[in-house]
């Protein structure tokens, strides 16, 4: 029978009588295996050591006072914004999902917000607590903080509760990102402990909101 390219060909005659490896053969293969694993493990160690810093840099270097992303910028960058399929000009609205800057799990729930959000003096779009921040809390945080349970006494379901803080005191210091425990936790990735982590864009929104004085807007 002609041997085909995948070499199935005629049956191997000896497979029914194939012996197991001898002690020496087994030892040689195990040593080779250990050698391969050692080299691979070393490579992994070196690779991770070289890249750990760059891995954590984006989260650690979130600028506390970075301007919020303009609506148009968000639209081109996040999956949520890609849902703003062209609408009739007369509606003058864009459709964004519940978390306008970065939806981890896109839902079909949409809300219409004005296409021209309130611009700041610098020309950027101001972060709105109701529009931008609370949806992130609702999506990511309230499962443990304000939903079925209120861990550490911290509820994030309303503006007043967010400012009230936890059993240990306020978690947000308006205008002071560096001393806001909530920001510290999400930037370090300590929170949320369960469920999807916050995306950089979501962290930026919350950070910008705190930096702006945590207004109830």
């Amino acid at each position: 029978m002609k041997r085909s390219w995948w070499r199935t060909g005629p049956p191997l005659k000896h497979t029914q009588t194939v012996p197991g490896p001898t002690g020496g053969q087994l030892l040689r293969q195990l040593v080779l295996l250990a050698l391969i694993l050692s080299i691979w493990g070393g490579g992994l160690f070196v690779f991770l050591g070289a890249t750990t810093a760059s891995d954590t840099a984006p989260l650690a270097q979130v600028p506390p006072t970075a301007p919020p992303p303009p609506a148009t910028q968000v639209a081109t960058r996040t999956p949520a914004a890609t849902t703003h399929t062209p609408l009739p000009a007369s509606t003058a609205t864009v459709t964004v999902s519940a978390a306008p800057t970065a939806t981890f799990r896109p839902t079909t729930e949409t809300t219409s917000v004005p296409a021209t959000a309130v611009p700041s003096p610098a020309g950027d779009v101001a972060v709105s607590y109701q529009r931008d921040v609370q949806p992130i809390f609702d999506q990511i945080c309230v499962k443990c903080h304000g939903g079925e349970e209120v861990k550490e006494g911290l509820s994030l379901t309303t503006y007043a509760e967010v400012l009230a803080g936890s059993n240990n005191g306020p978690v947000i210091v308006p205008g002071d990102v560096d001393n806001s425990f909530l920001i510290d936790q999400i930037v370090k990735g300590e929170m949320p402990k369960r469920g999807p982590k916050l995306l950089p864009a979501q962290i930026r929104v919350i950070t910008d909101w705190v930096a702006a004085g945590a207004p109830d807007n």
Binding site: D55, R77, P106, P196
Partner: protein, 145 residues
């Protein structure tokens, strides 16, 4: 729901990686099972099945890698957690599955030769372990730990 919404959901909204990663996981697992059965039962047909399945696993690893890079850029702005570990493990998985497939292709008796059978079986086990480790890290990204 119109066709534009469906296309938009597929192209822009839905993550692809979480779908495609199941192929390397399932295929490496199946290949490992087949190769164990083949060695145990001394069955050449099962060994053929393992060969084809591990070759398919190598191909599916490429697809998973491409969609993973895409999802990282689109959904995580290039800063997905554990991205470097996953890249390293993913490359290892691709190299391992490809090596297994090519080796078997070039050396038909690799499973039956006492001098190589342990290494060959370990390769299948390792590829499955790598795939489920990658899957676990993906689960950590999605659902935390």
């Amino acid at each position: 729901m119109d066709i534009a919404q469906i296309i938009n959901a597929i192209v822009n909204l839905h993550p692809w990686h979480s779908t495609t990663v199941h192929f390397p996981i399932g295929l490496t697992g199946a290949a490992f099972l087949f190769i164990l059965l083949a060695r145990w039962r001394r069955n050449e047909s099962l060994e053929h099945a393992a060969f084809f399945v591990i070759a398919l696993a190598a191909l599916s690893t490429i697809v998973a890698a491409i969609t993973g890079i895409r999802d990282n850029l689109v959904r995580f702005e290039g800063t997905a957690p554990y991205v470097t570990v996953k890249i390293f493990l993913g490359i290892t998985l691709f190299l391992l599955t490809t090596s297994l497939a090519v080796t078997r292709w070039r050396k038909r008796e690799v499973l039956w030769s006492p001098a190589t059978t342990v290494l060959y079986l370990a390769g299948f086990a390792g590829s499955f372990l790598l795939a489920i480790t990658l899957g676990f890290l993906g689960g950590v990204i999605l659902y935390g730990i």
